[in-house]
Symmetry: C2
Subunit: 380 residues, 2 copies
């Protein structure tokens, strides 16, 4: 199987991720932060190490600003619902995933207003349009870093400047970028950064996180046992405990730590270069195939390792099925949980076939996929 | 290390849990329910199998009534917040974990009323007191099945009858019982059952679930990508999608399935008998040691595999530290995230040393722990 579905989850993982996850499960799979015995303490220390690695990766001084969650969807819900109150206004873009749009639509039922700034046909969003959408009650701007549909890289640094200038919080969805693109929360004026553990960061599923800026206390979504201030019926107001109720995914977080170490050893620039090279080559070859329609910027400095395409007007699911059955190539067809992004690029009916590349994909695999597309175009 | 902290998380797990979790990670760690390719479908099928196993275990006909969550704390928050609205009244008990009490206290800030029925000094709750607490606006009763402090088994079937008679929803916290005690949601009139995957069900951390009765639609906590109805900005109103946004812990759920299969092969009655035998022996021996104070019913038909004790008035953390350092025995001291339960049995200052036994503990380990307690009592 050639796996081009890294936008959904990265696969495979580095061997160290498998090994360290399993070692934690087998050797010290206790409950961290609950008991004081050796096994629990060992797991707690490991979790703190992953927190520290993430804080280095995103350039935040305090590891306690990194909250562990179940997945990026929880992180985004926490960021959005933790900030917005009835009467507040939020600005987002048409290029967002449903993990951003659905919570915002949900909040509209509770008196939150929203403005959706549309991208152009390549998914590119104009920062000045975001600035123009600001109202006196605007409390939050939410944008993705890299579109999961077109790969379009958003100008997050510029948006961060607009947010800072207008004293508005900025929440970035790093679902497609964390572990591949540099994200410096200080330099980019990011107040909240949601990220999955199991995509670019190469960790196991069941891991994710949210960076919350120092001294920014938002509403928690869950309350429960935190292993701290246990005599109180009130959720403790300290970070990360306030947002981490119940048993965390200890071994998963250890595995995530191994994934981040792998990235740091390889060098994030080298990983990005590799993915850029694959993406560039794929675009250059695919664009020459008659009958193939490509979406997105198609410029490697403006696009992550996500390339969406269609063959003529054929349903995206049909082509994906052929790629899977005949060529053993895994891609993702359909709407990618991003309906407004599809509306933006005009593919709401047809869907697209999404190729999303990862660290372990090779030049040969790209060649093979191009060959497959050439054959399908002829035969269908 | 002798591990007597199974109330926090079961350790170790059956080998099949390690093996199946790892096999899913390495061989088909795709994103279930998102793409249509072979790897994603294989993981989707495995997740459905675990859903089916859980529905058999809890005797619900429809596997789609089982929702997967991050942990039992999320399940309890979802059950409590999904049901209660401003003006509603909820009844719970003093024996609850903070994962029940803290969400309820949080909701009090939004106009929800609560009544807490206190247990007696052994943690036993009188069903008639629950019935007496019912008011016209009572919408929900929440109780644990087995106390995480005293092991007290709650009369959930009788409480279920009271709830049904009065048309009130009943949410059971199965954190200490699922996988060890029979839970029949039909026979017991349970509307919602919260359970962790990583305790008695022997699955990996990062897994949990909530059973929601047929035709009972509650508010979701998260909204996001569900891989279904993707063209809509509104969360789909179908079960389980409504409550399962974002990437689930696929390999964890596969591992959980292996844990449940292990339980079904061993026989839940045999597992319970084994834990009862260990608990009975431990109580019979510990009760004879002068200076040891035991809490809870101390009757194996009224108590799960959790035994809490103190040595004279010495701080529970001190004794636990000695058990860990000198004897390599892992227990949990302190307040166990259950402050009102400690208040109920009078141990809020001292805490208790909690021994919680599991399927892999042995008679010899109990003997060794008793020997350790005898020595500590003499030396300290």
């Amino acid at each position: 199987m050639i796996y081009f579905d890294n936008g959904a989850t990265s696969f495979p993982k580095p061997n160290s991720v498998y090994d360290e996850t399993m070692r934690a499960m087998k050797e010290y799979g206790a409950n961290p932060g609950r008991s004081g015995h050796k096994l629990a303490l060992k797991l707690s220390r490991g979790i703190f190490e992953t927190r520290t690695l993430l804080s280095k990766l995103f350039n935040t001084k305090n590891p306690m600003n990194i909250i562990f969650t179940f997945n990026a969807t929880e992180s985004l819900n926490l960021g959005i619902k933790g900030i917005l109150k009835p009467g507040d206004h939020v600005i987002t873009t048409s290029m967002e995933h449903n993990s951003v749009l659905r919570p915002i639509k949900h909040l509209e039922g509770f008196g939150v207003e929203s403005t959706i700034v549309y991208g152009d046909s390549k998914g590119i969003v104009d920062v000045s349009q975001i600035e123009e959408a600001i109202k006196p009650n605007t409390k939050l701007i939410v944008t993705t870093h890299v579109s999961n549909l077109t790969g379009t890289i958003m100008p997050i640094k510029e948006i961060g400047q607009v947010a800072k200038k207008n004293q508005i919080y900025y929440l970035v969805d790093g679902a497609q970028s964390a572990g591949i693109y540099n994200i410096d929360v200080e330099e980019m004026n990011i107040d909240l950064l949601a990220f999955p553990g199991h995509k670019g960061l190469l960790g196991p599923q069941g891991t994710g996180g949210l960076y919350i800026k120092d001294n920014l206390s938002i509403e928690s979504i869950f309350q429960g046992g935190t292993g701290s201030a246990s005599s109180s019926l009130i959720q403790p107001d300290i970070c990360p405990d306030k947002y981490e109720s119940g048993t965390s995914n200890g071994p998963g977080i250890i595995g995530l730590g191994a994934g981040i170490k792998y990235i740091m050893e390889k060098g994030i620039e080298n990983i990005r270069s590799h993915e850029e090279e694959l993406t560039k080559h794929f675009i250059e070859e695919a664009i020459q195939i008659e009958g193939v329609k490509l979406y997105g910027p198609l410029d490697i400095k403006k696009q992550g390792a996500v390339v969406s395409l269609n063959i003529r007007d054929i349903d995206s699911s049909e082509i994906s099925y052929i790629l899977d059955e005949e060529y053993d190539i895994a891609v993702r067809p359909g709407l990618h949980c991003a309906p407004l992004a599809h509306e933006t690029i005009g593919t709401l009916d047809q869907g697209v076939i999404r190729f999303s590349f990862g660290i372990f994909n090779t030049h040969e695999e790209i060649e093979y996929a191009i060959k497959a597309l050439r054959e399908i175009v002829k035969e269908i």
